[in-house]
């Protein structure tokens, strides 16, 4: 289900002293099965953009078309959209509320129309997919878990509905290195299974590794919508806009500046490695 965003603007509190434009004339298109990274400084409109995509907010101007239908038109079935779209907010662990992990993960399926056995299957699958032991954890209270486990359970609660596209808002913030790695791998695996992934992150290395396309927002404007390699090419521009560039890209950029023949589209560690080995062998 492709998502089309057509000249969308969003203004908070129009007509008051608090008026603030969060998005200005943004247009983009997301195809099925893509893995997209969204970057930008705090307050650039990233969160507004992703909330508009799933109909949690209504644009001040412009249209959002999912599967060929305007989601803000009268009579549009928002519930259908929400069944297909999953959104993981920042610190999703705040949304836990049930008495057991199993019930909490199953919460979103209550109105799905699935049978009891199907729900149980989905819940088990979701809990195991986020890397938890279903038998061990299903009867525990979500509040007795560690921070990392809580986040996994919260994410399982979203995956249980088997969304067709998944929006992730800073999902790895505050996780330990292993948690990050696991989560990124999970997002990659889901994407390989055909789930469209839209990930908001400041972590350029993570996006370079997994995303195919990167969208950069600056003060509500879309300033970049390009494949990863192209998006991270202009280091100076990114620095100027306050966007973090990944370490791999940074090292490649420095090496280029020092006269080594590293291509300017090196963004991943894996691509960088042969050059570093080559330089090491060369004895420079």
């Amino acid at each position: 289900m492709p998502i089309e965003i057509n000249h969308v603007s969003y203004t908070y509190f129009p007509g008051t002293v608090f008026e603030a434009a969060a998005l200005r004339d943004v247009s983009l298109r997301i195809e099925d099965g893509e893995y997209i990274g969204i970057m930008g400084q705090t307050g650039c409109g990233k969160s507004t953009l992703i909330q508009l995509m799933v109909g949690l907010m209504v644009p001040s101007e412009g249209k959002i078309i999912v599967d060929g239908k305007d989601i803000n038109e009268r009579g549009y079935q928002r519930e259908e959209l929400r069944k297909k779209a999953g959104i993981v907010f920042q610190y999703p662990e705040v949304q836990l509320f049930e008495t057991t992990v199993e019930k909490d993960v199953a919460f979103g399926l209550k109105h799905s129309g699935l049978s009891k056995t199907e729900i149980a299957e989905n819940v088990r699958w979701a809990i195991e997919t986020v890397g938890l032991d279903f038998e061990k954890i299903c009867a525990e209270s979500p509040f007795s878990l560690s921070g990392g486990e809580k986040r996994r359970v919260a994410i399982a609660g979203i995956l249980a509905a088997k969304p067709k596209f998944l929006i992730l808002d800073e999902p790895i913030a505050g996780l330990d290195p292993k948690g990050r790695k696991d989560f990124l791998k999970l997002s990659g695996d889901l994407n390989a299974d055909g789930v469209t992934i839209i990930m908001v992150s400041h972590n350029a290395d993570a996006l370079a590794e997994y995303a195919q396309r990167v969208i950069i927002l600056d003060d509500g404007r879309l300033i970049m919508d390009a494949p990863v390699k192209e998006a991270f090419r202009d280091v100076e521009l990114l620095r100027d806009k306050g966007i973090g560039i990944g370490q791999a890209r940074e090292i490649a950029h420095l090496l280029t500046a020092c006269g080594y023949p590293v291509p300017e589209d090196t963004v991943r560690y894996k691509e960088l490695l042969p050059f570093l080995i080559g330089i090491g062998k060369g004895g420079d």
Binding site: F18, F89, Q95, L96, F107, L109, K110, G157, A161
Partner: protein
């Protein structure tokens, strides 16, 4: 949070914005009390004109000033009807069971509505032109005489100011949690009663947890910075009352004195 809440502080630089918050709070108190003892048409006329001037001077639009009244219009309609229908049995136009609409009731209904509306507008002007922290400062200084009889006014003010500071944070948190639950299938907008009741838990539990967590963190942060109780706390900013503040208070007192005289004479 897509619409501004009624009575929210709107920064500005009007005459009323610049008045000292203690004076504004005191004036609000005097105005509300005098609204209660008005009992003549001329008294209401004076009050309405006074409120209109105050709205004009505050620089907030008439729409914003009347917002709270408009939001409560159903409540106003209800108290108006209750008064008209049940207030008096004298000269009733007709009588059916306990329902006796009468001219006296009609007048009483109008009067109650007008009184509540005026008091609402007055408080709206106060909260729209005064930052919340200013209001708590004003409350602290106005209740400080109670210290003499052993009431911990400093701590009351501290509680108030923390509570007010947390309103935006908690409302933002509520908004996020509501959206998160909606995105995973909660139905807050359902019209079915059972579904509505069900939808409360996923909202209330996380909000309470978040609030307690914040309270815990705040108390640790305060202790870490050497908080030892609110008594004897000094303030960073101290504004002595200005000439304008005194004259504004004088005007309010004068108007209310006139209203009192009218009341006593009639």
């Amino acid at each position: 949070m897509h619409r501004l809440p009624t009575g929210m502080y709107l920064p500005g630089d009007s005459v009323i914005h610049r008045l000292d918050s203690r004076i504004k709070l005191l004036a609000l108190f005097i105005v509300v009390v005098s609204i209660l003892f008005i009992n003549s048409l001329i008294g209401y006329e004076i009050m309405v004109v006074f409120m209109a001037v105050a709205v004009f001077l505050s620089g907030i639009s008439l729409k914003v000033a009347l917002n709270s009244v408009r939001k409560l219009s159903w409540f106003f309609l209800l108290i108006f009807l209750m008064n008209t229908l049940f207030y008096s049995t004298e000269n009733a136009w007709f009588s059916f069971w306990k329902v006796t609409p009468s001219p006296a009731g009609l007048m009483q209904g109008l009067e109650v509505v007008l009184r509540v509306a005026l008091a609402l507008i007055a408080s709206n002007i106060m909260t729209s032109t005064t930052a919340p922290m200013e209001i708590t400062n004003a409350i602290e200084s106005l209740i400080s005489p109670l210290k003499l009889i052993g009431i911990p006014t400093g701590q009351i003010a501290m509680i108030l100011s923390i509570a007010i500071q947390f309103i935006p944070t908690l409302s933002e948190e509520t908004d996020t949690i509501r959206k998160a639950q909606m995105a995973r299938g909660a139905r807050f907008d359902s019209t079915k009663m059972t579904e509505k009741a069900e939808a409360v838990m996923p909202l209330v539990v996380p909000i309470f947890l978040a609030a307690f967590k914040r309270a815990d963190e705040l108390s640790i942060a305060m202790e870490a910075r050497g908080y030892r109780g609110a008594s004897g706390r000094t303030r960073k900013k101290f504004d002595p009352l200005k000439y304008q503040d005194m004259s504004a208070l004088a005007v309010v007192i004068a108007i209310c004195a006139v209203l009192l005289i009218i009341r006593l004479k009639t």
